[in-house]
């Protein structure tokens, strides 16, 4: 029944929602807008008036300088390769582990899961020297492919934990139905759990990509060869010892954010209600 009252109530609820969303959006995106604004300014050793978002003399100078910096494109590519490979591996291995932990029985299941959770509490900063020695002993120093095992290993705990939480929400009856049909665990994983968890997997992809794309401390520690380096190092090098041209740093940072946003926009499409319901019907 669509009375005048309910239509008005709906319009009001929309209005309220948009107002709240709008205010939140302004608050959350404001510093970002300030970054964009400063990246178009020339004299940026000092940050200017925060209220003044439109620069007086906008210029593309910072962007030109960043793009012309030697090897910038190379660093971009390096980061992309490492991030893509790592993300694929992280999502694959984490989802397999989460499925194994929540859906299958095997000896040591609880202990291994507990170890995964315990690992979440360990700050990676303090592991840096043993990890460095390990990388050296495995011959993984100073190479892009050497980064991947470390990025994957350090991200697995978080993503497995996240996915376990989601997998637990899938009704077990669905699994059982497939077992009756004679489906083995791999098929159940691939055709049931994964499709039903698209929102969770999408989240993992987003986080895994962001984490590896942005990672700085480890990359800086192990990479020396200039042509092996990743983007965050390149951005950090725009900082001088005594002064920093912020417009330059912001311009570089903004260029670096673009792939992350693209991944986000692509994968947030999975956050569509009703995806789960379709699977249950079939």
């Amino acid at each position: 029944m669509d009375t005048v009252g309910s239509r008005r109530r709906r319009a009001l609820s929309y209005a309220v929602r948009y107002a709240l969303l709008g205010i939140s959006a302004v608050l959350l995106s404001y510093p970002f807008l300030y970054m964009v604004s400063t990246s178009f300014k020339t004299r940026s050793l000092v940050l200017g008036d925060p209220m003044q978002l439109i620069p007086e003399e906008p210029t593309l100078d910072n962007y030109i300088r960043v793009l012309a910096t030697e090897n910038f494109g190379r660093y971009f590519l390096n980061s992309a390769i490492v991030a893509v490979v790592s993300t694929v591996l992280i999502v694959l291995l984490a989802s397999m582990m989460a499925y194994g932990f929540t859906r299958l029985q095997f000896p040591g299941r609880r202990i291994l899961f507990a170890l995964v959770v315990i690992g979440l509490t360990i700050p990676t900063m303090m592991l840096i020297i043993p990890q460095f020695l390990l990388a050296r002993d495995l011959g993984l120093l100073n190479s892009l492919h050497g980064l991947v095992p470390f990025y994957v290993g350090t991200a697995l705990g978080f993503n497995t934990f996240l996915l376990s939480g989601f997998f637990q929400g899938i009704p077990k009856e669905l699994d059982e139905a497939m077992i009756i049909d004679g489906a083995g665990p791999w098929r159940r994983y691939w055709s049931l759990a994964l499709p039903l968890s698209k929102p969770a997997l999408g989240t993992c992809v987003i986080f895994a990509f962001l984490g590896t794309w942005d990672e700085f401390a480890w990359a800086l520690t192990v990479l020396n060869d200039v042509d092996q380096r990743t983007l965050p190092i390149a951005i950090a090098l725009f900082h001088g010892q005594h002064s920093t041209s912020w417009g330059l740093v912001f311009a570089a940072s903004l260029l670096a954010i673009v792939p992350v946003l693209i991944v986000y926009i692509v994968f947030q499409r999975f956050f569509v209600a009703g995806l789960a319901s379709g699977a249950i019907k079939s």
């Binding site: 970054m35 992350v260 999975f270």
Partner: protein
Amino acid sequence: MTAPTGTPSAALVSANPRRRRSTAVAGDGRRGAFAGLAFVLPGFAVYALVMLYPAVQTFLLSLRDWKITPGAESPWVGLDNYVKAFGDPKFLDSLVNAVVYTAVTVPLQIAIGLFLAVLLDSKLPGRVAFRVLFYLPVVTSWVVVSLLFQFMFSSGDGPANFIAVDVLHLADENIGWFRERWTSFIAICALGVWKGIGWAMLIFLAALTAVPKELHEAAALDGAGVLNRFRFVSVPAIRGALSVVFILLLIGGFNVFISVLLMTGGAHDTQVPLTYMYDQAFKFLEFGYGSAVSFSLTAIVLAVAALQYWWTRRRMAD
């Protein structure tokens, strides 16, 4: 987290009473065990190699007065470093700071993140744009946002002072935010919450959209309004996500590092355990002690997380 009765999946359950089990879906004996290990071991092997093995080494390192030069003698000191840590007022102060930071930022990130996720979990036109805007803080680098927040919490006429003095009349004159411990933490917490909202929102959004539409429709047919639908359909469904987010934010709060390092560098007693560890290890080359500090923190975080986990499990069982 099983589906309520009256849904298609419930019908399936009643049709096969023999299969109703409360443990994980069983494999068949040894083959099932093999499958389980095959799923878990590849990832776990990488994880163990890269995280657990170095963690064990770091722990062993904390039992020595470790010298970094290869081949140098690192005398065994046993638990001395730990005794020193718990008697160290600077470390204890840093723990207090971490607790305060966590207590302030975690509820705020959860509340606001959930609120935004709920607002965006619908066919609202333009929602993609909003989702992107809310995610922007998460992707902006810490260096950049710390700088901007220092700027916003300027001791002169910055936005924070504008709000505090002119709008809210909390103070008569401009506040020197970074000149004191707790006002510095207001800025640091603001930064933490601001940067984390989008992250929490993302996870909640994923959880909310995993709720089948039928459940909402069924509840609406039963006459439930928006709030009741939220309470009885959405909340139970995201309880798992809530628990996950809470634990992860809790851990993240205690392990806060980069924002404090960049905002204050630990000045005015704003050290947190990890910045303290970093100074000890990398500036003063006291790696044994620094590792002990980290492990003490880890132990405390584990205890808190375990407590929380046990407590929510008890509540869920009721």
